[in-house]
């Protein structure tokens, strides 16, 4: 797999994502948000951080970066597109995923390890997991997933909810921690699997996410 990690001004988990991908021997490039010609990647990652300071609304300004045109084309072409944390916020602002990430129910940044239920284990992002209860790090101040009731209902019936919080850390609609698009190739999640790939750092539950991505695509 050939992957690109998009670097927006203010991204700060780009390095972590690159480190994690390399650990799984993925060939990975960091590409600038201003780039437009990045077609030959199998997967595009939008990393965590505070793109453009998260000013106005998280993701609101990054969605206009030149690379987002390419990201949309890649998404339409069925390539893998993953937004983690700030990346998720950008994907919703760019309408690649429904809903919006809003200020936590109790205002304030949360950095913690939280219990996660893998709601849909049959996606290209989760299929390598051999259990449905995992622990992942979260680190966000605007991580409350919000969508109107109809949208949430639709996400549920179409199995687009990939991850749920076991305990609703931020007040998300229906405990939603991660969703994918209808086609199943665009995935946004607030937890940080890239921070959970080394047991030395206390948590290796994110490994299943990377293993899933590397497994043959046709399983889905």
């Amino acid at each position: 797999m050939k992957a690109a990690v998009v670097q927006f001004p203010g991204s700060n988990c780009d390095v972590d994502l690159v480190k994690a991908l390399k650990q799984f021997d993925v060939a990975v490039d960091v590409v600038s948000h201003q780039q437009t010609d990045v077609f030959d990647y199998d997967a595009l990652f939008l990393p965590g951080g505070f793109s453009f300071g998260d000013y106005l609304r998280s993701g609101a300004i990054a969605r206009f970066s030149p690379i987002m045109t390419t990201v949309k084309q890649a998404a339409a072409a069925g390539k893998t597109v993953v937004g983690i944390c700030n990346g998720f916020q950008i994907l919703t602002e760019a309408d690649l995923l429904p809903g919006q990430l809003m200020q936590n129910e109790t205002p304030g940044f949360i950095c913690d390890q939280v219990g996660i239920e893998i709601e849909n284990p049959a996606t290209r992002f989760t299929k390598a997991y051999d259990r449905t209860e995992i622990t992942l790090p979260v680190a966000h101040g605007e991580g409350r997933y919000y969508a109107d009731e109809a949208t949430v209902a639709q996400l549920n019936t179409q199995h687009q909810v990939v991850l749920r919080y076991q305990t609703n850390v931020n007040g998300s609609s229906d405990h939603i921690a991660g969703i994918m698009n209808e086609a199943g190739n665009v995935f946004g999640l607030m937890p940080h699997p890239e921070r959970a790939v080394e047991s030395l750092l206390g948590n290796a539950d994110g490994q299943g996410f990377f293993r899933s991505l590397l497994a043959p695509v046709d399983v889905h």
């Binding site: 106005l56 919006q100 809003m102 109107d148």
Partner: protein
């Protein structure tokens, strides 16, 4: 030169945690008559335009393009001519 003042607030159905926090704090501070608090955003935007109508069009366009998220927010604005 025109000065547009744009007021953005959450749609009534959307939770406003910051408003709730402020409301509770006001209660603790003894402001017992406060019934509800909603927090929104406020922008002051200066722009060049030939006519007020033109300024209004620009202001609406840029607000919808960038300042608000139509899923959760609504807005209104005031517009006045000012010296540059």
């Amino acid at each position: 030169m025109y000065l547009g003042k744009v007021y953005v607030s959450y749609k009534p159905s959307v939770l406003d945690p910051q408003g709730t926090v402020i409301q509770n704090k006001l209660g603790q501070l003894g402001f017992a008559d406060v019934d509800s608090v909603k927090q929104g955003k406020y922008f002051e935007i200066k722009l060049k335009a030939d006519t007020k109508q033109d300024a209004a069009t620009q202001l609406e366009e840029l607000t919808q393009a960038l300042l608000i998220n139509p899923n959760t927010e609504t807005y209104r604005y005031d517009l006045e001519e000012v010296s540059a």
